[in-house]
Symmetry: D2
Subunit: 337 residues, 4 copies
């Protein structure tokens, strides 16, 4: 951490700051330039201390030198994290495809979708039981009944299940029918939930908040990791920008960047990322070429009857074609699908 003093500030004012830092247990290192003094602070990074410094008189700003995430960072964990779940691995050479409908609508729809994605080669079924929506007048998900349907479909098809948990009080319930527990974009900074997920021993799929910086996203992962659960899969799903033609702007550069900064696997959701089924195939290929460890794709047996997110869902036929096309792209970057 570096504390930058206002220009023209004298020795006396600087001493007030350095004394305070020393009283907090930090080492200090003065660097006096032509116009201003800069204080190097040696010790563990803590946001509170930075804020205290910024609130002091004569301090212009505080600059961090180190990244705030430790367990999520590659610095102290150079090797890729590879997660085993059921008979698949996530983060290794083989890519994972998670597919299925946005919302569970009824048992038939779920089973049809499951069979279709399984036939096309997906190993993980995605489907939501809890569907909080912008409008209180819209369909909100089947909730507990939906979880039951997921359990049934898991038995019938042998697919692994990824489904979303909404709060810290339903973690156990969701964990019973899910092989991977999803934290949705709106919950990325629900720290009570993250803390609870740090206590269990199931892989967590952590979606990037639609306005979260990469640093905030990795800090959300840090919450889970610091609780003792080291199996976190990051999922880029688009960020909010000024562009109105797409639902979100899929930030694919986050993929190679997060792979540099962190050891955690990263997958991409091009369905929410674009909101337009016509863009999903191209962006799925791009995601793999960018180095993603997998995809999460919305597939619905009949998108125009979907109760949620129809415009961004592929039909089973479209999904089948996509999987076929992805094999070549995966190979071209040394991966398998």
């Amino acid at each position: 951490m570096i504390v930058v003093m206002n220009p023209g500030v004298g020795e006396k004012e600087v001493t007030i700051i350095t004394d305070k830092l020393k009283s907090m247990g930090y080492g200090v290192h003065l660097s006096t330039g032509e116009n201003r003094t800069v204080i190097g602070v040696i010790g563990q990074r803590r946001e509170e201390v930075a804020q205290a410094m910024e609130a002091m008189p004569d301090v212009e700003k505080v600059v961090f030198i180190t990244r705030p995430y430790k367990l999520a960072g590659r610095e102290f964990h150079p090797d890729n994290t590879v997660i085993n779940v059921g008979d698949i691995t996530i983060g290794g050479t083989e890519l994972v495809v998670m597919a299925g409908p946005c919302a569970i609508e009824n048992e038939d729809q779920l089973l049809q979708a499951a069979e279709a994605v399984k036939k096309a080669g997906a190993k993980v079924l995605r489907a939501g039981a809890f569907k909080p929506r912008t409008s209180p007048y819209s369909f909100q998900g089947l909730e507990q009944e939906g979880l039951q349907f997921l359990n049934d479909v898991r038995s019938k098809t042998g697919l692994l299940i990824v489904t979303e948990v909404m709060d810290q009080f339903t973690v156990d319930e969701v964990a019973e029918c899910a092989d991977i527990i999803q934290v949705g974009a709106r919950n990325m900074q629900n720290y009570y939930l993250l803390r609870e997920l740090g206590k269990i021993r199931k892989p967590i799929l952590l979606k990037r908040g639609f306005s979260a910086t990469i640093e905030e996203w990795l800090m959300a992962a840090e919450y889970i990791l610091s609780g003792g659960n080291y199996e976190v899969i990051l999922c880029e799903r688009g960020i909010r920008t000024f562009e109105p033609y797409t639902r979100n702007t899929l930030d694919l550069s986050a993929v190679p960047l997060v792979k540099q900064l962190s050891h955690l696997p990263v997958i991409v959701d091009p369905s929410h990322g674009t909101g337009l089924s016509g863009l999903v195939p191209a962006m799925s290929k791009a995601a793999l070429a960018a180095g993603a460890d997998g995809l999460m794709v919305e597939v619905h047996p009949n998108p125009q009857e979907a109760l949620s997110d129809g415009p961004q869902s592929l039909t089973p036929d479209q999904f089948n074609t996509l999987i076929h096309e992805l094999k070549g792209v995966a190979l071209s970057v040394g991966r398998l699908i």
Copy 2:
């Protein structure tokens, strides 16, 4: 709702759409231009129907004519909502000032802050017991102990209390010590929480999510209103933009716009909105001049010792001066403070 067909689409394809709409109980109204057909859809607005239409072949896009919020909208409720709480009113001629520290740190700090803001003329004390933070290694709030301190300070000072609730399971606990219950920016789309708050009978202060559109914000209010709790106070607190000099960009144009669209009172939080205490006085004045019904301001007895948000907190002296200066601005727009 208007369904716009792709250019060159024929009568047969249009009939598929209109038949489907009719089977869902909607009236339809065809308008055939030179290049394309447009279908006016008569009936209640529902997002699911719009999504189904967009997922159908030959449909280019769906355009909404009406706003999605009803109870929050001024159309069906032309008069301003005025909320009575304790001996104050919110949304009337008199302006409300809520002030206090970001986080409750200990009983002394809270009492000092309370007495200082009371002395300056504030009627409502703001202070948080639950403080989830970006970093798992930062101070997270005193939680239940903090609520107890709030209760004590309320008794001692007679100030009204506004404090944040984090989830649907602690609503009752928070309601016991709060006169106004705050929903934080990160929870603006926590619909389970909003639904629970619709069931109680206490005013809710609903902060705008830092990346929420005005429409999404009003829809969040709609969740609470549709549950039967009509006392919602909106609070603008800055949105996330590309500008790095300020913590957020305070969107003051939201104030007159929301006053046009909705009957609910709107207040402004210039402390979070800017992140810099040096900007708080100017933006407080601007907020009142823009027509806000009040302010929420961070005041800390000793900002450089604050465990949270010191750089954006005013000292009691600065707050006192501010209140004095605000009186003239309030008068100039026909309000009182």
Copy 3:
């Protein structure tokens, strides 16, 4: 400037960097922490050197300590710049109101608008002769003929004129009929134009680019100032965000912030800033309360016949009422209108 080395980098690698910096004439100051070395660089700030450092091996990042603007900054010019033009001053106690139509459409429209804004108390007429538009099929302005009309109206009404220049080759032509030369938001980073404007001796109104940071805006002013023209008026006119209800998001916090960072006067354009005439009165008041030195407001004799920006233009009557209401707000912050 501070150069942060990658963690674990040894003495040898650090020496490569420090040798290079010394060879460029910089002083260096090493600070060796537990995990990494940080190099303080003493000497004039230059972006090229920073980029060279960032491109070197073993360098994690470069952090600037000083602001990049010098002439525009308050550090070396603590007093406010006050600009005299005709019989008015900009940046002093008295506030300036510039008003008029977006585009000059014909002589009558211009004269009507001019007389209306003069009657209401404006001292400066704004109107554009060059109107490049998003669509090549839209009205593009009267160009040279429009400048002639401006000249005539100036003679007839005695109003001062502010009008936009589009490129470095028409500066002289525009300077002949303008008392203040406007640089539009799209041209804020047209450095050839800025350089040319640095050579003349007329006040320049520099609009903030709709996606420009405050630092980029002040650097654009620096271009003009560094050419020797010290009379620059900054104009906040809204930035591009994700919010669709308003044309732009008016960033009023830029006003007090720029007043802290710079000595230059700052005015606000609430018409472009919101795009909605219904928000202009409230945002005009807010701008003055935030400390702006004036306003630029679109007024059209008949907004629904306007060839450009009708929806954001006030009628003469609305403008008259607004000016009346602004007087009180101005007084409340110690200013006059």
Copy 4:
């Protein structure tokens, strides 16, 4: 175009609007719902008319049905535009790679870069003679001397040249040494320049403005096309968002979306798009997988000596490796490099 009336507006008010539209030569088509009347307007889309309508009393909003671009749109030009320049084609099966340094610094540097990119397989050399920079104190390009160097290097190496033009007055000069003329992001809405480029007969590379929507970008292309120059290559180079880790956010979803909306070729610049050379290989692969027709990549013989954009430039060796790796990705989507 659809004009939506305010709720509760009566027949008389609607007639005022429809009479006005008819007087402007438009057909109208009334649709009267439960709460409000909607007017379908039949005739050519024009922004002025829409603005006039929005400025009228009792009108809530105007909604466009058709896209504003015609010549750039796929609707009236279903086949891909393929551009021939020298011995290459752009927009066909074969992909184009343009590479070279950001700025021309001297003849040696340019020749070294040219030979390196040629050896690696690039057919087009990119390099800028005009380099307007955020700071007036930074290197601004060699200007005319740089153009001369480009001419020499073209003769010596046989590479095609793409270089940027800054204003409408230097188009001829740049056209003499350029095979493809580049419009930079900051000039995307410099309509005087675009208009001039519509008059010449050389391919134009039109970069997306860093805050331009896709619609605005296509409208900028429309300016050139409507002047009679049909050879426009679009170039995605990143948009400005809230994410600070990357210089811009590369919007790869723009690639498949623009390919749907328009017939023009689209290439991607991952160097400016990310600002970090370490992300360029992954994003280059992703761009091709997303369907881009080519790439523009910064390559510098010695990035740490570069006068501009060193941190985002590849070394010749890195570029050579990249080209090799891209061949497989291109093949996997049915393209050649």
